[in-house]
């Protein structure tokens, strides 16, 4: 039987991915390229924050030491966050944001499709609820990759550069360690290695349709799961945690 600590570590990884990506996307609020897209991307931001909330609630329950979801979300230090390096990357221009979203959505959809079969009922339930949202996310971001790739010369070049720049962070999507191994044995965690092929197949399909090239960079950068982040993370947390740090326990 997996210890609560292992399950907690695993749950926090999923929570942090959704939380940090949600925070990043919410930076677009009021700054979207067009009104309709501003609403779309902030809807998606809230979907991610909602997913994070569910995972953090479960984490709080597992921790058993009186911590709340908010404690996990807003009061940890940088090295205690175990999200993927990909999701903390800055928004850049809208193509950068869409590229980051597309690479992650394609993965998260496959991930949730497996997690719904988890023997951990809580994780399975969160996955089931989240999957419906994620199916729309991947549709939205894929659609934009195709529009930008197969759009004008300028948009084609920009989105190709975005994809190229972010590609090095995609290896980490499939990162697994002893936490995963222990939980896979018990039918709780998803074997990420099995998602690699379908992920690449889907990404290739969309990029091809978008007349874009699939990058071949194989540089590995996979320290997010161990709490080692890029320089962007500290700035993100400073903004995200400001309210709780400045006004502890405030509610609104």
């Amino acid at each position: 039987m997996a210890s609560n600590k292992t399950l907690l570590t695993y749950t926090l990884r999923q929570a942090d991915d959704s939380m940090i990506l949600g925070q990043r996307l919410s930076e677009w609020c009021g700054h979207g390229p067009i009104l309709e897209e501003d609403i779309a991307i902030t809807n998606i931001a809230l979907d991610h924050v909602g997913q994070a909330n569910n995972f953090y609630d479960y984490a709080a329950e597992l921790s058993g030491d009186g911590k709340t979801a908010d404690d996990f979300a807003y009061l940890r230090l940088e090295h205690e966050y175990t999200n993927l390096i990909l999701v903390e990357q800055p928004n850049g221009h809208y193509g950068d944001t869409i590229a980051r979203q597309f690479l992650f959505d394609a993965f998260q959809k496959l991930y949730f499709e497996q997690l719904i079969h988890s023997k951990d009922e809580q994780l399975a339930a969160i996955a089931e609820k989240s999957l419906k949202e994620t199916k729309y996310h991947v549709r939205h971001s894929s659609e934009w990759v195709i529009r930008m790739g197969d759009g004008t010369e300028v948009s084609h070049e920009k989105i190709q550069t975005s994809i190229n720049n972010l590609w090095k962070y995609t290896e980490e999507l499939f990162y697994m360690d002893e936490v995963d191994e222990e939980l896979i044995k018990e039918g709780i965690a998803v074997d990420l290695e099995k998602l690699r092929e379908p992920w690449l197949a889907y990404v290739t399909e969309v990029l091809t349709q978008a007349t874009l090239t699939v990058p071949t960079i194989s540089w590995k950068f996979a320290k997010g799961r161990k709490g080692i982040h890029s320089e962007n993370m500290g700035f993100l947390l400073t903004e995200m945690q400001y309210m709780q740090r400045a006004y502890p326990n405030m509610k609104w």
Partner: protein
């Protein structure tokens, strides 16, 4: 080129099965597919609908305000077109 405005689309939402689609507003999109997704995000985020129609605004043929006199006013004096002259027998409810 960069500032070329996208086409305007009118959005119709069916709030629940069995009801008609009703016009709820408009939005801009590069094509119908994008219009549909934008409509989903802009007009159904608070569970307003179960079905969406979008149609490019310039596909709608509208009556002209200056035609109102000949279009609509003649109907004003035709009260016999309302089925209000029948005596409803006792015992018939919900009429």
């Amino acid at each position: 080129m960069a500032n070329k405005e996208w086409a305007l689309y009118e959005v119709f939402i069916r709030s629940k099965n069995g009801l008609n689609h009703k016009h709820v507003g408009s939005l801009r999109a590069a094509d119908a597919k994008m219009a549909l997704e934008n409509a989903r995000d802009v007009y159904t985020r608070r569970m307003e609908g179960v079905s969406i129609w979008v149609v490019e605004s310039n596909q709608i043929t509208a009556s002209a305000p200056e035609d109102a006199e000949e279009f609509f006013e003649p109907a004003e004096s035709k009260i016999y077109r309302h089925p209000t002259f029948y005596v409803v027998p006792d015992g018939i409810e919900h009429m």
